[in-house]
């Protein structure tokens, strides 16, 4: 069987360009679920997990997993930015544009507008749609569902993944050019998932993400016969006023020992900032309030104003500020 492609284009010299995808389950039906990763070529967790999930679902669809059955059509695009993956580039490597700023796309436009259009057209009809990201090279995200001005159905369905956090965010100008936003106008339900950090694989996050997608397939009835891991039932929902972004007042070297997913007490030490020349300690970073550590800086070089950590709080933070430039 030939591999289906979302889009095929010429390329100047190396080879023709194609975006392959997996089309599993009953052919010809409206897709029940569309899973997309690798809009950014350096976000590898989602690519790995979606390829592994496709391998499993292909076995189910072929009858090689007799305990399971696939009840709907599932479209999986492990990586949209194929050339970016091969050249370790977040953006589209030729003109350095960000594919996730090109939606809904345009089939007669620039190369990345054509790519965006192809992704949008192939996924828009799905009842459920998931776009998976892994932050950037500098920051590690606890596996989480992000919701942007969600419907009541989306709020309920987001809990089906069983990820540790479901986090509501406000839309902003940047979000309006993303796949997640383009989907909003297409009916159905859509979700953005963040898991880990770009640039390499964090296997514990990959495993958690894989289980989350299996849980979603189970709860929606798309795959039967799945046994869920009991430890993944601890999901917390955080509204738009339950996110606290800690930003640095200092430049320097940031060091930390904390792990995402930890519940911190007010005053708990998150990390320290050092002067990289004198070696003097400039600052301690402490949790201003109790909360779940949903993201932590992994890049030590620190500018004034850089994001150090995000805490999800049980009570309103009184601050609705979002640090810009850290979106998916």
């Amino acid at each position: 069987m030939t591999t289906p492609t979302l889009l095929e284009m010429t390329a100047p010299l190396r080879d023709d360009f194609a975006i392959p995808y997996h089309d599993l389950g009953p052919a010809g039906e409206r897709p029940a679920l569309a899973l997309v990763a690798g809009l950014h070529g350096n976000e590898l967790n989602g690519i790995f997990v979606l390829s592994r999930l496709a391998e499993f679902l292909a076995r189910v669809a072929d009858g090689r997993e007799p305990a399971h059955a696939l009840r709907g059509r599932v479209v999986i695009v492990p990586a949209v930015n194929v050339l970016g993956v091969n050249t370790r580039s977040r953006r589209w490597p030729f003109d350095k544009t960000d594919i996730n700023r090109m939606f809904p796309g345009y089939d007669a436009g620039e190369t990345t507008q054509r790519i965006a259009n192809a992704v949008f057209q192939a996924t828009r009809a799905a009842r459920y749609r998931v776009d998976i990201h892994s932050s950037n090279l500098d920051f590690e995200e606890l596996p989480q569902v992000r919701l942007y001005e969600p419907s009541e159905d989306e709020k309920a369905s987001a809990l089906l993944f069983g990820l540790p956090a479901v986090i509501e965010r406000r839309t902003d100008q940047v979000f309006t050019s993303t796949l997640g936003h383009a989907w909003r106008g297409a009916g159905g339900e859509s979700f953005v998932i963040q898991a880990g950090r770009a640039g390499d694989l964090q296997l514990p996050h990959c495993e958690r993400l894989f289980r989350a997608l299996m849980a979603f397939l189970h709860h929606t009835g798309l795959v039967t016969g799945i046994d869920l891991a009991a430890e993944d039932q601890d999901t917390h929902y955080f509204g738009v006023d339950r996110t606290l972004s800690l930003v640095s007042d200092h430049a320097g070297l940031f060091v930390t020992h904390v792990q995402v997913g930890t519940w911190l007490q007010a005053g708990a030490l998150i990390g320290e900032v050092y002067d990289g020349f004198s070696g003097e300690r400039r600052a301690e970073v402490r949790a201003p309030t109790a909360g779940l550590l949903s993201g932590i800086r992994r890049q030590p070089l620190l500018y004034e104003g850089d994001l150090i950590a995000r805490l999800q709080t049980r009570t309103p933070t009184g601050s609705e500020k979002q640090v810009k430039g850290q979106e998916q």
Binding site: L13, T111, G305
Partner: protein, 315 residues
């Protein structure tokens, strides 16, 4: 006339150094204040040369007509100094387009802090001119780009800028995060000039724009009304979304133009070819869809399917 140097933004870098966004101010009487900014994308250098030429012109004015400067001129030639120092279009480390971070936030990430500092320094000016140089892919004829929302204020100013084209744009959401939109929507007129090509300077375009800028300054009262200036030599055409045609590459390869920039073209005229280094033939001929004037021409030869090769204004 007094000449001052200071920083509109100063931020500590992680190891020892300080990032400074530097400004030169030419201060005359109590008349209107105007500003020229450039280098918001680190690969666009045309505006840096315009600032140099304006500084030279103003220094000479200080010697020859010390009282002719009635107001104040601020030059901020490198608003993204890290990008210029590292030959990067975006703000290094943050991989952020500085011109998508306005109006900024004094307590945000570095690009947001630069944006907030720039807004504070420029707000209230009688006119800000933001000079861009396209990118490394496309060469542009000297032009002003104006969002239709601000056309009533900006078109009369743009008419005097001695440029070839005024391009009126419809609203695009992401453009709201530009410095021009942020200034115009808060009452500070800002004209966006696009000219030339990335990583190069085009002195002829600079001299053309210089004449326009000083004439507009005189009209605004920044310069004495009786100061003699070289008269404008260009009258702009007006383009908008209804008469601009985009030519995107039908296939991938090397684009080789057959014509010169800023030429009148006929419908079906061959503008260039896309060829492959592997074969002797032509992969695709590039033909004009309309009678018009070619105002954008691809400079960087390699094209992907979809790459923009030219823009033509139908006439």
């Amino acid at each position: 006339m007094e000449i001052l140097h200071d920083d509109i933004v100063s931020l500590a870098l992680p190891y020892r150094e300080t990032l400074r966004v530097q400004r030169t101010s030419f201060v005359g009487g109590g008349g209107p204040r105007v500003a020229v900014i450039a280098g918001i994308h680190g690969d666009e250098l045309e505006g840096l040369f315009v600032c140099h030429r304006l500084a030279a012109w103003l220094e000479q004015l200080a010697a020859s007509h010390p009282h002719a400067l009635r107001g104040r001129v601020d030059l901020v030639p490198a608003i993204n100094p890290l990008g210029i120092d590292t030959l990067e279009r975006f703000v290094p480390v943050f991989d952020a387009d500085l011109n998508r971070n306005f109006p900024g936030d004094a307590e945000g990430l570095l690009p947001q802090r630069i944006a907030a500092g720039a807004m504070a320094a420029l707000s209230g000016a009688a006119l800000v001119i933001d000079i861009h140089a396209s990118n490394i892919y496309l060469r542009e004829i000297p032009q002003v780009r104006i969002a239709e929302d601000f056309a009533a204020t900006l078109v009369p100013l743009a008419q005097g800028m001695n440029l070839d084209l005024i391009w009126l744009h419809g609203a695009v959401t992401v453009l709201e995060a530009t410095i021009a939109h942020s200034l115009n929507s808060t009452g500070t007129p800002c004209l966006v000039v696009e000219m030339g090509v990335g990583m190069r300077i085009t002195p002829a375009f600079t001299e053309q724009l210089l004449i326009g800028i000083v004439n507009v300054w005189r009209t605004l009262g920044v310069l004495a009304p009786d100061l003699e200036l070289p008269p404008p030599t260009h009258t702009p055409l007006v383009a908008d979304d209804s008469n601009v045609h985009y030519l995107n590459a039908a296939t991938s390869g090397l684009f080789v133009p057959d014509i010169e920039h800023w030429m009148a073209v006929r419908r079906e005229q061959t503008l260039g070819r896309i060829v492959s280094p592997l074969h002797g033939g032509t992969l695709a001929a590039v033909r004009s869809p309309v009678d018009g004037i070619l105002f954008t021409l691809r400079e960087y030869p390699a094209v992907y399917e979809g790459s923009l090769m030219a823009r033509i204004m139908a006439v």
